[in-house]
């Protein structure tokens, strides 16, 4: 298993060819109280950078982008009923969806935890 991060404050937990996607603690703090999450449909094909999901906080709507190219294989069924999981457990129970990664070499373009922490320092 390997944990990677994007510039847009998303994380991908990679297990073989499956990547589980969520947002970081920094992202959930910036979003504020999440009240609604719209998830992609299973089997949807996405290119890296596509709009994949929507998070609505009390304040505003934000897009979640596909961190990698691939096909959606599962979604977090608990999230629509309990969107606050994004705030309370962003790296665990607050995950969004999993994808079957099409091209593992795209992972090289993402940051590891140390690089992401450095990215946060520079914001």
């Amino acid at each position: 298993m390997m944990l990677k991060f994007t510039q847009d404050h998303e994380w991908v937990l990679v297990d073989g060819t499956i990547g589980k996607v969520g947002v970081t603690d920094y992202a959930q703090q910036q979003l504020g109280d999440v009240v609604f999450v719209e998830l992609p449909e299973i089997d949807k094909d996405m290119n890296k950078g596509d709009d994949a999901a929507v998070v609505e906080s009390v304040k505003a709507a934000s897009e979640i982008y596909a961190p990698l190219t691939g096909k959606v294989v599962s979604i977090n069924e608990s999230l629509p009923d309990e969107p606050s999981l994004v705030n309370t457990d962003p790296l665990g129970e607050g995950w969004f969806f999993s994808i079957e990664i099409k091209d593992l070499s795209e992972l090289d373009q993402l940051m590891d935890e140390a690089a992401y922490n450095a990215h946060l320092e520079n914001l």
Partner: protein, 384 residues
């Protein structure tokens, strides 16, 4: 006019209220709003702040709003009320000393220049107007006033709002007499030797007070209020969700120069004596159009909407008929923490304005079913 802050300056370098440092101390996230640097939220976040205000007491810094005293050469507030009546549809002459009224500055088209609060005092009218409109409002009122009187702009005063079911207990511990005030009345009060003017009013749907305080006393009085364990600071984010649930208009969004008081559902703000048959019927800017609309010619109306599901529908979303015809726009919308779901308001043609009417709201290309509902979305707890 004595306002020393032209809008061009306030746009480039935001002003700070007397509580700026205290907001920082309490961990506020600051944003630029109407030329000021204001707290949007504190570390608890909008949801908790909102619910705290409905359950206990919330303290809001609203010092960015414009405060002024309108007085005339004669020295009696009756004359000032007469002059101001030419600019508003409200009945100001019937206000007794200490009584407060919500009114609207209208223009000849029937549109709304601002909504504001007027409290009748012995020798002046005390005005509180929206921050974004204050320079224009004060200019407008000064022009009408001419040499007949003075509009004293209170730049040396801050304004705090203390709102929620425990507000009366909290404030009356510092000034017992405020417990005698009823909704929309005010009185002079000494707090920590500062001369304050307190009204029982607010923008949340809760019982509560607004306290006008000389700048030098704002921080110490705010600290004193925050010492009470029932009181928490509330930012502009929760102020917006609280007022939305209370069905109250936000100027520049739900009302503006293109909406009339009648379309906005503010017909109650047209005083009885300003209506046909009244002692001082008409005679305010746009009165022909506004009174005409009261008699049944308004084409559209501001309504409350309850979307199905959980997704917040925000300002700018199209309102459609179930058949897919676009008939209006959402002017305010979001998640109502006390309602526990999305709520919105917007304008639709009269034929679709009846509570229970099924409509659709467009969200990211999808039509979300919604129903026209009566406002407010919560039961207000004003102390009548």
């Amino acid at each position: 006019m004595s306002d020393q802050h032209p809008s061009s300056l306030s746009e480039t370098s935001p002003q700070k209220t007397a509580l700026w440092a205290l907001h920082k101390e309490y961990g506020a996230r600051m944003v630029h709003f109407a030329g000021y640097e204001m707290p949007i939220q504190y570390p608890d976040g909008i949801l908790k702040e909102h619910l705290h205000c409905r359950a206990a007491a919330g303290l809001f810094d609203v010092s960015h709003m414009g405060q002024a005293r309108l007085s005339t050469v004669g020295g009696e507030s009756e004359e000032a009320a007469k002059i101001l009546e030419a600019l508003v549809p409200g009945d100001l002459l019937s206000l007794k000393n200490g009584e407060m009224r919500y009114s609207l500055l209208t223009e000849s088209s029937g549109g709304i220049l601002d909504d504001f609060m007027i409290t009748r005092r012995e020798d002046h009218l005390f005005l509180v107007v929206n921050a974004a409109c204050k320079e224009a409002d004060f200019q407008h009122i000064s022009e009408k006033l001419g040499k007949k009187g003075t509009l004293e702009i209170l730049q040396d005063h801050g304004l705090l709002a203390l709102q929620g079911p425990m507000a009366v207990d909290v404030l009356s511990a510092l000034a017992p007499e405020v417990a005698q005030l009823t909704f929309m009345t005010g009185m002079d009060v000494q707090i920590q030797n500062h001369s304050c003017f307190v009204t029982r009013s607010g923008y949340t749907g809760e019982d509560g007070f607004e306290i006008s305080i000389p700048n030098e006393g704002v921080e110490s009085i705010a600290r004193l209020l925050l010492e009470n364990s029932h009181v928490k600071f509330i930012g502009l984010g929760a102020r917006d969700s609280l007022r939305l649930e209370a069905g109250l208009c936000l100027y520049g969004h739900d009302i503006d120069q293109t909406t009339t008081p009648i379309e906005a559902g503010l017909t109650w703000a047209v005083g009885k004596q300003r209506r046909p048959g009244g002692l001082r019927a008409g005679g305010f800017a746009g009165s022909d159009i506004i009174i005409g609309q009261m008699e049944g010619t308004a084409q559209r109306k501001r309504i409350g909407l309850k979307p199905q599901g959980r997704a917040p529908i925000r300002e700018g979303a199209d309102i459609q008929t179930p058949e897919g015809d676009v008939i209006g726009t959402v002017t305010s919308g979001g998640f109502g923490p006390s309602v526990g779901g999305p709520i919105a308001m917007g304008y639709v043609p009269i034929a679709y304005a009846k509570p229970g009417t099924p409509l659709c709201l467009m969200l990211r290309g999808k039509a979300i079913s919604a129903e026209v509902v009566k406002m407010p979305f919560i039961q207000p707890s004003y102390k009548r």
